[in-house]
Amino acid sequence: MVIAGFVVQCQPQSQQDTVVALEALGQVEVFGADEKGNIVTVVDAESSADLEKIVKKMEGIEQVLNVGLTYLNVEDEAKKIASGDLSPNPFPRKKHWEKLN
């Protein structure tokens, strides 16, 4: 479980369309919006990798100008990394550095 809060920025006139497009992504919940085109958004992702994919999709919505992170909780993932159940290393490898370490 990775939970993140964002303020998504769009043109004020496209706010409703943007909210619809965000919610259509799934795992994205909209909690409110203001008249300036700021949208309070929470993403409930399976993992950091999943979150990254969702954010890229959010950024890819035509009306979205900016996706600003305000909060991130990764406690499940951090525990798994610390216990060795999950590797944050994109290169599962044994190089001379690791052997020496």
């Binding site: 479980m1 909690f31 992170l69 590797s87 944050p88 020496l100």
Partner: protein, 795 residues
């Protein structure tokens, strides 16, 4: 209804975002639950660019488990970008260096050694070099990512202890031209204003900067300003259309290196149409040419005669029209507040200082300076290039507190502060970066310490310098958190260091703002903070060289625990003894004051009481800058006390258009430029080890204009060979309406030998700033195959 942990976190996340907008949500009670949560929050700065975003790292049971922005921060107002979101993964990363590694020869394999052995070897090699080859046979090459305490202590030991000014850092590769521009135009380094001008500006002039990717949180502020105020004009001047261009009202696209003509032409229009501020000029401005010869307004005006908009448009390649130049000049001059921002597009040039001067010229001519919303603001690339390196004495020609090395009185002030004999610091500046690595090539540097940077990848024309770095003539120590191409090719001794939030220290960002980050979690077992490493090494050096002055350099720090007391003592010495009375006065910015701030302190801040207000938002303005009062020479509202301008004036420079070192010809018909991408940082030694960031952009590609691609038969994804007079890369093509026709663009982060673009770039330097011309060289391109499956590569 029972609230699950998931619900609790989602509500917390929603409240966090809503609080930024002043929006109330129907579950504010989560605040109480939050207070009972076991997460401890530690405030600090983000490490992955020069903006200085403030955030809090959530730590639970010794693990980094959460991040949140600091909404009260005047740098980022709480917002964070995606690159910053992932840095916590570097803290427990399995590839972190945790043991000193040593090899006598660079062709050998490393072997693990103890810290005691490592320190002894490091001291032995540097002491031996000094004894056998003299003081200038040793060198330090540091980083704009090192904490101020680290850079300050390193340079103190090298200058005061080893008696060499061979002290440099990678900001020479990115900010030196900005330093040169500020010094020669304003008489003092670093900007007059800061980010606070963004919300007041009515015209943004963004030149040579892709801030949407390189400084995304600042871009967000500019975009917010534009959205809230449709009358605001955004002008983007760049040979490449980037993500930044999408908010521009006017985009000026021109051939690389012709922007000096644009800037002069804007000045031409401003004067021709009498849009300059004559009263401001009368009161505060002098005109200069060449190396500082004084001229008058008429001679300056005459120097612009060759830059009519029509002529400039032709010089720039014909895509920009004369009318567009007139339009942007009018908007620049007549807006309520014009804010210029730039980065490497101007700095990494053979004419980098001149380009900076010409932007400053426009602000001085029009008086678009010193008032709300108006400033000439160079954005910094690294988190502590300003604080540690420019202010802390991290370049070969400057001592701490912006003191020029060549001034004896300045050296004496530093010697007195350190309690070392007069004359201990050498009188001449040391070797600048490119000269330093040339000296490595020539075997003149016998021992070198490289801290927190990877010159094997980041130097321009790197093949040339890597030849020397790979030789056994120079013993090299690297301090870092991960293996890099430099540790692999060049190091004899690798020392594992603590990462951000694993140690305590101060970063100083773009806008003269110093901000502290306290240690929040333990580093991996075996890794140490640099300040501890340097102190231990200096202790041994003193013994091996039998030199009590080296002992004197570290005497104030003896016995202090390295996690807090040691960096605090170093900061106290630096801020209290070496910034006091200088234009970067941080006397009031003690650790106690900095720890009490959401963000930090903008210098000058001579007292704690003043520092607690946040410091100086605008330099040189009486009523806003305490030094403008203490250094005033008359009753005018602006007082330019910068030491480089004894006449207390701003200087407008007559600078002609001048070509880059290399321009396309029949053999090499394309311009090559390089830059950053949003997901990666510098040499990817960190971001390449985070799966989410690596996957987003696993390898570099070459951007080719569609017209060029059609002409050369290049399709998207085709493998393209890029060759200059210095080297070759092969990478996939991105056919994209980004670079102007006749220009290609590549990201510089990729470590793969086939895609390391600095093999191709140019090492010509600006004669003033000594900054290399990374941004422009000539190359040829050709398709070598269709698309191929590529693998990312990290050493």
């Amino acid at each position: 209804m029972v609230q699950t942990r998931r619900d609790f976190l989602k509500r917390t996340a929603a409240l966090s975002a809503a609080s930024y907008l002043g929006m109330l949500l129907p579950f504010q009670d989560v605040d109480n639950a939050l207070a009972a949560d076991e997460t401890a929050w530690h405030r600090g700065s983000c490490r992955l660019c020069g903006v200085g975003c403030r955030l809090e790292l959530g730590v639970k049971n010794g693990l980094p488990v959460a991040l949140r922005g600091v909404p009260q921060s005047r740098t980022n107002m709480g917002y964070l970008c995606m690159k910053g979101m992932h840095f916590w993964k570097l803290m427990n990363h399995p590839e972190r260096l945790t043991t000193p590694l040593y090899r006598a020869k660079k062709s050998d394999k490393f072997k693990k050694i103890s810290w005691d052995e490592a320190m002894d070897i490091a001291a032995d090699k540097f002491a031996g070099a000094v004894k056998e080859h003299g003081n200038d046979s040793v060198a330090y090459y540091g980083s704009g990512q090192a904490l101020t305490e680290e850079t300050y202590l390193f340079q103190k030991i090298f200058r005061g202890g080893l008696q060499t000014n061979n002290v440099e850092g990678n900001p020479r590769l990115c900010m030196a031209s900005a330093v040169g521009g500020y010094m020669t135009s304003f008489g003092a380094d670093e900007p007059i204003g800061g980010y606070a001008d963004i919300e007041k500006a009515d015209c943004f002039f963004i030149i040579g900067s892709n801030m949407a990717e390189a400084h995304p949180v600042i871009f967000r502020r500019v975009m917010r300003r534009k959205l809230d105020n449709p009358q605001v004009t955004v002008i983007n001047a760049d040979p490449r259309i980037s993500l930044t261009s999408r908010i521009a009202d006017i985009h000026l696209q021109f051939n690389p290196g012709t922007d000096l003509a644009l800037l002069n032409s804007m000045a031409y229009v401003i004067i021709e149409e009498k849009l300059h501020n004559q009263q401001f000029i009368n009161d505060y401005v002098a005109f200069k040419k060449g190396k500082g010869d004084t001229i008058d307004f008429e001679e300056y005006k005459k120097s612009l005669a060759d830059y009519t908009p029509e002529k400039a448009a032709t010089i720039m390649g014909g895509k920009v029209t004369a009318d567009q130049i007139r339009e942007v000049a009018r908007k620049f001059a007549s807006s309520k507040g014009t804010l210029s921002m730039w980065t490497m597009g101007l700095n990494q040039r053979k004419q980098g200082v001149w380009a900076n001067n010409l932007v400053h010229n426009l602000h001085i001519l029009t008086g678009q300076l010193l008032k709300e919303g108006a400033d000439s603001l160079s954005l910094t690339g690294q988190p502590n290039a300003c604080g540690g390196v420019r202010e802390g004495g991290g370049l070969c020609h400057i001592l701490p507190g912006h003191r020029p090395v060549e001034k004896e009185a300045m050296r004496n002030q530093v010697e007195e502060a350190w309690g070392v004999p007069k004359g201990r610091i050498p009188a001449l500046p040391g070797l600048h970066t490119m000269a330093m690595f040339s000296a490595v090539n020539e075997g003149k540097i016998k021992a070198m310490w490289i801290n927190c940077t990877s010159p094997v990848q980041s130097l321009p024309n790197c093949n040339k310098y890597n030849t020397g770095l790979a030789k056994d003539d120079t013993f090299i120590v690297c301090t870092d958190i991960f293996p890099t191409l430099t540790t692999e090719l060049a190091a004899n001794l690798v020392l594992p260091t603590a990462f951000h939030f694993e140690k305590t220290g101060v970063y100083g960002c773009t806008e003269r703002r110093s901000q502290i980050t306290r240690k929040a979690i333990d580093p991996p077992k075996g890794a140490k903070p640099e300040v501890e490493i340097v102190r231990d090494w200096a202790n041994l050096l003193a013994k091996k060289l039998n030199d009590p002055v080296i002992s004197q350099c570290i005497k104030p720090f003896a016995g202090l625990e390295p996690e807090y007391a040691l960096p605090k003592a170093i900061w106290e010495e630096y801020s209290q003894k070496l910034t006091k009375g200088t234009d970067c006065d941080l006397t009031g910015a003690t650790y106690e004051v900095l720890e009490g701030m959401y963000d930090g302190v903008q210098w000058p801040a001579p007292t704690a009481e003043y520092a607690k207000t946040g410091g100086t938002v605008k330099k040189f303005v009486r009523g806003m800058d305490p030094m403008a009062e203490t250094h005033k020479t008359d009753d005018k509202p602006y007082q330019f006390y910068g030491a480089a301008h004894p006449d207390h004036k701003l200087w407008i420079w007559a600078r002609p258009q001048a070509n880059p070192e290399e321009i396309p010809d029949g053999d090499y018909p394309f311009y090559l430029s390089t830059g950053r991408i949003i997901d990666h940082w510098h040499t990817m030694s960190m971001t390449g080890r985070i799966p989410e960031l690596l996957r987003a952009n696993p390898y570099s590609y070459i951007e080719v204009n569609p017209k060029d691609a059609t002409r050369l038969g290049i399709k998207p994804g085709d493998m393209v060979e890029i060759t200059s007079r210095r080297g070759t890369n092969i990478m996939p093509a991105k056919v994209y309406e980004g670079p102007i026709e006749g220009m290609v663009f590549a990201y510089w982060h990729d470590q793969h030998p086939d895609r390391m673009i600095n093999k191709v770039t140019m090492d010509a330097i600006d004669p003033g700033s000594k900054e290399p011309e990374f941004k422009i060289c000539a190359c040829k391109i050709k398709k070598v195959s269709g698309p191929q499956a590529l693998k990312p590569y990290i050493v």
